[in-house]
């Protein structure tokens, strides 16, 4: 079944949320997974949905050797000591 734009955003958010603390997901992991399930979508749709999550502050880009899409958090390095 085709996903609406809003549903796609929520779908991606849930993927990021489910992976939180277990696995870091790159933007390409997200579009590859989404396109596998929803072949009617294209990569641009997924990128736009990720953009919406980032611009809305629900997800952030992180960099730990590679760039990932994650839930916002206070990083360990920012703490004193």
């Amino acid at each position: 079944m085709a996903l609406s734009k809003a549903e796609l955003v929520e779908h991606i958010y849930k993927m990021v949320e489910a992976a939180s603390g277990k696995r870091q997901l790159k933007a390409s992991d997200l579009w590859k997974a989404v396109l596998k399930e929803h072949s009617e979508l294209d990569k641009k749709d997924v990128q736009t949905a990720i953009k919406e999550l980032i611009d809305g502050g629900r997800c952030v880009y992180t960099y730990f050797g590679g760039s990932y899409v994650e839930l916002p958090r206070v990083e360990a390095a920012a703490k004193k000591g």
């Binding site: 790159k26 933007a27 390409s28 579009w31 990128q47 990720i50 953009k51 980032i54 611009d55 502050g57 952030v60 880009y61 992180t62 960099y63 730990f64 050797g65 590679g66 760039s67 994650e70 916002p72 958090r73 206070v74 990083e75 390095a77 920012a78 004193k80 000591g81």
Partner: protein, 419 residues
């Protein structure tokens, strides 16, 4: 006694010292005093006291900010946060003094005041600010026409030589191409979506003043297709010592055309009989040696464009690798559609097949040039042979025999035959 005896030694040599610069800045910026003290401590203990920050950034962007924290924040509070900001440089690094003063004022207000002009990729590097200063600094930069550059797994800020702005050898407008691609790739620059970093560098001629062949994943190096233009009267003037070699930028007063030019031609495609210089242009590999020595006698041809090379990077384990040719000649003229479309095909294939932290050149080494050429829709060309005669083996696949039986020549992909 000095508080930084080890750092002081770095001021004792004949060269300008960053320590001297830091000390000068420390007089007005307390965080720089702490920076010096922490660095002295690192030199004593032989370990870094920086911690990597992977989350800080500005809203909407996934690049341009490199997080740094001190693990001695109690002792050196001034460097508790010391993030770096990368600012996208203008094409060719041309600035007005007003623009430079504007940048410095913004950084004095929001950061340590320390900056590098420029980082290895080409960006302006602002060194040292706190997390809460990032957004206000970014807002002021954008209000003044600046933007952050690339970092992380993104399209990095492209850079170029100054091209036709100051160089008669530029075979295309490097600064325009760099600017157009910077605008075209904004999404990929600010929103990480690649397996790893991806760099473009534009050089106007094979002298390659931005070292694109060694430092860019995709190197765009200006070249000409037709014959080198020769002014025989000027050749005579060089032979007679009336014209100085290299435009005077050499201690030698007179050129020995045979010994200095034709005998040093890497393909031996030139000859000089004492009166006339002849070039077998079909065998010229565009090394620029002769043109560099006799700039008033020789000039690149008039049918100009660029050679595209792919894959240079410097991984720690394997060592530095140069780019190699993927397209011997491409016309580089606005709006650069052919180049943009090829660039998309390259990055799409890489994004699809690349592993985490695998550069495009490494992916080609893993999957093979053949697969890459098919994906990029580039025909095979002799110039793509990276190391001629070094590897005589070619591993035929069943699909090759099947293709041959069908009358196809090189490719296994349907509809992409090359005669």
């Amino acid at each position: 006694m000095s508080k930084t005896p080890l750092l002081d030694q770095l001021e004792s040599g004949p060269w300008p010292s960053f320590v001297t610069d830091l000390k000068r800045m420390a007089a007005k910026k307390p965080q720089v005093k702490d920076l010096l003290a922490q660095l002295e401590r690192s030199y004593q203990e032989k370990i870094t006291h920086w911690k990597h920050g992977g989350i800080v950034g500005v809203l909407g962007y996934g690049s341009g900010i490199i997080g740094r924290y001190s693990d001695l924040a109690e002792t050196f509070p001034g460097v508790e946060h010391f993030h770096t900001m990368r600012i996208n440089q203008p094409s060719g690094w041309f600035y007005t003094t007003k623009a430079l003063r504007g940048l410095c004022d913004i950084w004095d207000k929001h950061g340590s005041g320390l900056l590098n002009m420029h980082g290895a990729t080409g960006d302006i590097i602002f060194l040292g600010t706190r997390t809460e200063n990032l957004e206000p600094c970014f807002a002021e930069l954008t209000a003044n026409g600046w933007d952050l550059g690339g970092s992380g797994s993104t399209f990095r800020s492209p850079s170029c030589c100054l091209g036709p702005a100051r160089c008669e050898w530029a075979c295309y407008d490097t600064m325009e191409a760099c600017y157009v691609l910077t605008q075209e790739m904004q999404f990929d620059m600010h929103r990480p979506s690649y397996p790893y970093k991806y760099k473009l560098k534009f050089s106007g001629c094979p002298n390659d003043c931005v070292a694109a062949v060694a430092r860019a994943d995709l190197s765009i190096i200006g070249v000409w297709k037709d014959d080198i233009r020769i002014d025989q009267a000027a050749v005579k003037a060089y032979a007679g010592g009336e014209l100085k070699p290299r435009g005077g930028a050499t201690p030698y007063a007179k050129l020995d055309i045979k010994a200095d030019v034709t005998d040093l031609c890497p393909t031996h495609c030139m000859s000089y009989d004492g009166k006339k210089l002849a070039i077998d242009n079909r065998n010229c590999n565009h090394c620029m040696h002769c043109i560099n020595l006799m700039p008033q006698a020789l000039r690149p041809g008039t049918e100009t464009g660029a050679t595209l090379l792919l894959g240079s990077h410097a991984p720690i384990l394997e060592g530095a690798q140069l780019s190699w040719v993927i397209q011997p000649f491409i016309v580089m003229e606005s709006p650069y559609d052919e180049f943009k479309e090829l660039n998309v095909r390259i990055t799409e294939w890489w994004a699809e097949h690349g592993k985490n932290r695998e550069r495009i050149g490494e992916l080609i080494l893993r999957l093979g040039m053949r697969e890459f050429l098919e994906a990029a829709e580039l025909p095979p060309a002799p110039q793509q042979v990276r190391i001629p005669r070094a590897n005589p083996f070619f591993f035929w696949q069943q699909s090759d025999f099947d293709a041959e039986a069908k009358g196809r020549k090189y490719y296994t992909r349907e509809g992409f035959d090359v005669e």
